[in-house]
């Protein structure tokens, strides 16, 4: 790769800054340079190369709606996007050609909007791109000649990894529902505002013909609210009644209908007690908070659906009649097929090796960190990755019959059995309804004048002032605020009930490989003369072996000069690579497998000049995270499929008691352990964690894991590593506390207001004042949160 920094003056300034030139995140202290990772450097160079420097100017001044993430180093092949079958399912025909939606990883501010929409300017055939920042979805429009793969490629080079999003019936319906909901809110707002204007003049003394007409106009304005805006509440209350569930909507609808009925009756009888203003404001407030919660949940659901998207993988199957390999889809494989698997490809099905020696990375399936040597007649399993050299396998089990397929099937059945818990606030609502009904009945009997109209009016006042505004309003609001803020920080939570379960956990199970550790080899020792660094980078960039990737990742931020092109390259699969740089013959080859990890030898003109040691390393944040978890009285465990020794070593370093380590656990054992300790939190990344993630009362999937663990989890981290776990737990607990505090307050308020109403001391004016004031108080309480909640969000942001 040719790359030179022209302005050395500028470079000096940049080096002193401890933040990444591209993403702005802190640069790890082990690296020198101006980038935090190789991914960011690659993107930075690409942006400079295409004269899009303006991106960085825009970015400096723009406010981010979520945290900026380091760019991932990927090299995905997007050709599948152009296949007719795929286009059929994922794109729509439009007047100019076709359009497809992509979920983009990492978009966060106005500069991202500018940069992604520039794709249309330089990729031929792409007519336009519109990015929606809130949902991270880009709408890509291409002409007849255009190719989606080229647009996707450009987006990836910019550092936004694209995931195609299906525009199915569900998405179309959701869009329609959102629009309708917004219209309901608008109608309620307009009507409530006008009713309030008229109500103010009534309260301030309008009388006679004016008062009469104002009340009738209010009634006219109230009708759209009652008959159109409030319909979602009727539907959900009716649904809850029919399925005998408890829902906060039942008391809401009860209060609303009764209030309307009596107000209308009073209107016809010439009584002054009409409550159209309070009722319409109530509907408006409830609708608005519902919409906010719905949106945050939709965004979390949409992005996790997009990230679940599995690249349709292809395999090479031996065709005996043609005596050649056919490329087919994985799901077409059947028992007995002969398949060829190249290095760095994953094994598509369970089978037996026919020919070839290689080593396999089984970490996703078993949690083992060390590669496995395999040779002919050995069994291999789907989901593992071939590392060194090509192998031929004969398929014995494919699809759902394979080991990973069975895990997937039992995970799905486990998820469907996962108890649906009723949100705490809804359980409280049950007692609330009971209490209101009791007061309601009581007010009839203790009515002093003994007339039934007086009794009815008092009962109505009760149902209006105690109308569960605070109950129905604040709980969704508190949850939607927390979920929305978490989503902006890269923590996607599937629903408010997850927060409630999370606040109850006692035990935390941590997977080792890929969760506490990086899950891939990292350079731990580097004893190589500095002048050879460029040469090693030049050679290793040519290989796709995981060790080569680790070396490239280590070297790229360190090498500042241009990289030469080697000649006479010879790669021995799994052994090493050699090539000529200038006049020197450089070779990097595997020496031994020691307890330290994989040792490599560097040779210059056949003379050993250096050593490199690579091993899976514990993430730097793991130790402090475990310490913090312990400080809030949680018991951390390690639950790993790896061997006892590496598990114990990791436990010692991060500070987990040896008694709390479980090694060599199969997926089923992991799930059994979690079940015995529930309510527990499980954190993992691999396919072997999927069962435990589904079994745990809360499962958190860590970035870089496999898709099935994402499906099994309740929370998904968009950033690699376990750093935010402690903050997430604290945030869940504090949010629950805010909800409880609000419920406590509103119970108190309702007792007092209900008491007043019972003795006939509440008139429409007092009701109209009391309700917004009580709502305002809980709103303030929700927006302020608690000191610990605010500091946890601060920590998460840092």
């Amino acid at each position: 790769m040719e790359f030179q920094i022209q302005n050395s003056e500028e470079l000096k300034v940049k080096i002193t800054s401890p933040f990444c030139q591209h993403c702005g995140n802190p640069i790890p202290s082990r690296l020198s340079g101006v980038f935090c990772c190789a991914g960011c450097q690659r993107v930075y160079e690409w942006i400079q190369g295409h004269q899009f420097q303006r991106y960085y100017d825009l970015k400096r001044n723009a406010s981010s709606i979520r945290n900026s993430q380091p760019s991932q180093e990927t090299s995905e092949d997007y050709l599948y996007l152009d296949e007719p079958e795929f286009l059929e399912n994922y794109s729509q025909k439009t007047s100019e050609g076709r359009s497809m939606d992509f979920y983009l990883d990492g978009v966060h501010c106005a500069a991202c909007v500018w940069l992604t929409e520039k794709v249309a300017n330089f990729v031929e055939g792409v007519s336009s791109i519109r990015l929606n920042l809130g949902s991270s979805v880009a709408h890509v429009q291409i002409s007849e000649k255009g190719k989606f793969s080229e647009a996707a490629d450009a987006l990836e080079k910019m550092g936004y990894r694209p995931h195609p999003v299906k525009q199915g019936a569900h998405e179309v319906l959701q869009k329609k529902e959102n629009r309708l909901f917004l219209i309901r809110i608008a109608v309620a707002a307009a009507c409530a505002g006008n009713i309030m204007l008229l109500a103010v003049s009534l309260y301030s003394g309008a009388d006679g013909a004016f008062a009469e007409r104002f009340k009738w106009i209010s009634f006219g304005l109230f009708l759209p609210v009652l008959l159109f805006s409030a319909t979602p509440f009727y539907r959900s209350a009716w649904g809850a009644l029919r399925s005998k569930e408890i829902s906060i909507d039942i008391p809401v609808v009860f209060g609303l209908l009764l209030g309307s009925a009596v107000s209308i009756a009073n209107l016809f009888n010439g009584d002054d007690r009409v409550y159209f203003d309070s009722l319409s404001t109530l509907v408006l407030l409830l609708l608005s908070t519902r919409f906010a919660l719905k949106r945050t949940q939709q965004i979390a659901a949409d992005s996790s659906r997009a990230l679940h998207f599995l690249t349709p993988s292809r395999v090479k199957r031996w065709n005996a009649t043609r005596e050649a390999y056919d490329t087919i889809r994985v799901d077409e494989l059947v028992q007995g097929d002969r398949v060829r698997v190249l290095p760095s490809e994953s094994i598509p099905a369970d089978g037996v090796i026919l020919t070839g020696d290689s080593s396999l990375d089984c970490s996703l399936l078993t949690g083992e960190s060390r590669p496995h040597r395999v040779t002919s007649t050995d069994l291999v399993f789907a989901g593992t990755t071939n590392l060194d050299s090509p192998i031929e396998i004969q398929v014995t089990q494919s699809g759902t019959q394979s080991r990973i397929g069975k895990i997937l099937t039992s995970m799905e059945s486990m998820l469907s059995r996962k108890a649906k818990i009723t949100i705490f606030a809804h359980r409280v609502a049950r007692y609330f309804v009971g209490a209101v009904l009791f007061l309601f009945g009581l007010s009839f009997f203790i009515s002093p004048h003994g007339t039934w109209t007086e009794g009815l009016n008092r009962a109505l006042a009760i149902s209006i002032v105690t109308c569960p505004c605070t109950f129905a309003l604040i709980t969704p609001l508190a949850f939607s605020m927390t979920l929305g803020r978490l989503a902006r920080m890269g923590v996607l939570v599937k629903g408010p009930e997850v927060l409630e379960r999370l606040a109850q956990i006692q035990t935390v199970f941590l997977d080792k490989t890929g969760t506490l550790t990086f899950g891939s080899p990292q350079v731990v020792q580097w004893k190589v003369p500095a002048d050879l660094e460029t040469a090693i980078l030049a050679l290793e960039s040519l290989s796709t072996h995981p060790i080569a990737l680790a070396l490239v990742q280590y070297l790229r931020p360190r090498v500042k000069t241009s990289v030469p092109t080697p000649t006479d390259i010879k790669e021995t699969q799994g052994q090493g690579i050699q090539g000529r740089i200038g006049s020197d013959l450089i070779e990097i080859r595997r020496a031994l497998q020691t307890t330290l990890g994989t040792e490599l030898e560097v040779l210059k003109n056949n003379q050993s000049v250096g050593r490199i040691v690579l091993n899976d390393q514990i993430r730097p944040e793991s130790k402090s995270m475990v310490e913090k978890l312990r400080s809030i009285e949680l018991t951390p465990w390690i639950l790993s499929g790896d061997h006892t020794i590496p598990v114990q070593q990791t436990a010692r370093i991060v500070g987990i008691k040896a008694g709390n380590c479980i090694a060599q656990a199969s997926p089923e054992m992991k799930s059994e352990w979690v079940r015995s300790q529930n309510p527990a939190l499980m954190i993992g990344d691999g396919a072997n964690d999927a069962l435990a993630l589904a079994q745990a009362s809360v499962g958190i999937a860590v970035r870089s894991g496999v898709e099935i663990s994402l499906q099994a989890s309740d929370i998904y981290l968009r950033t690699p590593g376990v750093r935010p776990i402690y903050e997430i737990v604290v945030i869940a607990r504090e949010t629950l506390w805010v909800v409880k505090r609000n419920l406590l307050f509103s119970t108190f308020y309702n007792l007092v207001a209900g008491g007043f109403a019972l003795f006939g001391k509440i008139d429409p004016l007092l009701a109209a004042v009391l309700m917004p004031v009580s709502a305002l108080m809980v709103l303030t309480s929700t927006f302020t949160g608690t000191r610990r909640l605010r500091s946890a969000f601060q920590e998460l942001k840092a």
């Binding site: 959102n178 917004l182 307009a190």
Partner: protein, 45 residues
């Protein structure tokens, strides 16, 4: 105070006009994306 008999219908009609406008725009998809326009306005080209 008889002016009120004209003013109130006028305000209500005006309100109705804006509601209808909002509904039409909403069905047109103008409010599908509630986040980006606030950011896009800062980019001038």
């Amino acid at each position: 105070m008889n002016i009120i008999y004209i003013l109130i219908p006028v305000t209500l009609l005006l309100g109705l006009f804006f509601i209808v406008l909002f509904i039409l725009n909403s069905l047109d998809g103008q409010y599908d994306d509630l986040d980006t326009p606030a950011h896009r306005i800062l980019i001038e080209d």
